[in-house]
């Protein structure tokens, strides 16, 4: 079974977003691995991910489970993007994780998506699930919707293809 690197990307330090396009249709599943932090000291980065540039207000569904200061916390919501909760990301503190996009190229237009991320500083864990938006042809990784925050120059993203279509 194939598990191949499609592309990797290192941010420049002045970018607010990354748009991965030209995703091949030859795989069964996709895997996105990321390590992200902000250039802004002390700023809690909360990266977003969207698919196909879809920003519909209810087009993403996510569930969150985390422990915070010894208290478990559960949350679910419809939203306009998939959050990759970042926590504090200055001074080498990345938020990192992986996102599996199952059956991303299915003709029926539905994909089940799951994201699992880790916030370093608070050591919180997030399991995010997105109900999707049709076949995935592009992936947007966004630092902040206000466009005033940027990914650091050592932030990276890798996209892998898994299996055969």
């Amino acid at each position: 079974m194939a598990h191949e690197l499609i592309t990797s990307y290192t941010f420049s330090g002045t970018q607010n977003s990354l748009d991965i396009t030209s995703i091949p249709t030859t795989y069964k599943d996709l895997q996105l691995i990321f390590k992200l932090k902000s250039v802004t000291s002390g700023y809690n980065l909360y990266p977003h991910i969207r698919f196909n540039s879809n920003s519909g207000s209810s087009n993403y569904f996510q569930m969150e489970m985390r422990a915070s200061n010894g208290t478990d916390y559960y949350y679910q919501n419809l939203d306009s993007q998939l959050y990759l909760y970042g926590g504090e990301t200055d001074s080498g503190k990345f938020t990192s994780g992986h996102l599996e996009l199952g059956d991303y190229n299915r003709d029926s237009g539905h994909s089940g998506l799951i994201a699992m991320t880790n916030s370093f500083w608070t050591s919180q864990s997030f399991f995010n699930i997105a109900e999707a938006v049709g076949d995935i042809t592009s992936i947007q990784v966004i630092a902040d919707l206000s466009s005033t925050k940027y990914f650091s120059s050592d932030s990276k993203v890798w996209l892998y293809g898994i299996g055969e279509a």
Partner: protein, 170 residues
Amino acid sequence: MAIELIERIDIDATEPSVIYFQNIRQDGTHLLLIGSVRSGVGNGNGTPEDVIVNNDSSSNSHTYSSLFWGNGNASALRLAGQNSARTWYNTGDSTTAYHFANGTLWFFDYTVSGHQNFIAYGGHSWEHLTANYHYLSGGVYDESDPITELRLQTSTSHKQYSSFSLYKVT
């Protein structure tokens, strides 16, 4: 093939308490550790399976997150959670037990210096069948060197038939 086995350790009858992945090759991008941890014999003989990165076992060198235990700093990552290798809860099983707990740990960009965050997932199944006992993740708090060693340990011993595989992803 972007995933390649670096080393597999199958636990034999010597049942060591500590095992190592050492001199980890630096020609990959990410590491993936998959463990299948066999329980002890008899009720209550399970212990957590811990992973120490680069021989740094100081008390705040790693982090953890658990829906039950909360989050904080620790001396090791946890591949399989608290009492994960324990035999079936409250059965009083005194015979040979073949119950396993499985866990995975990812180490992203492990050859790079100067970053301090790795993701880890662990899980267990035998003592408490409730999700909030699962360890969800952990990190490496103050280790900024490339990962060259993983030390796996329990407070007792690794039981025969446990197995650990370390893969590199490029």
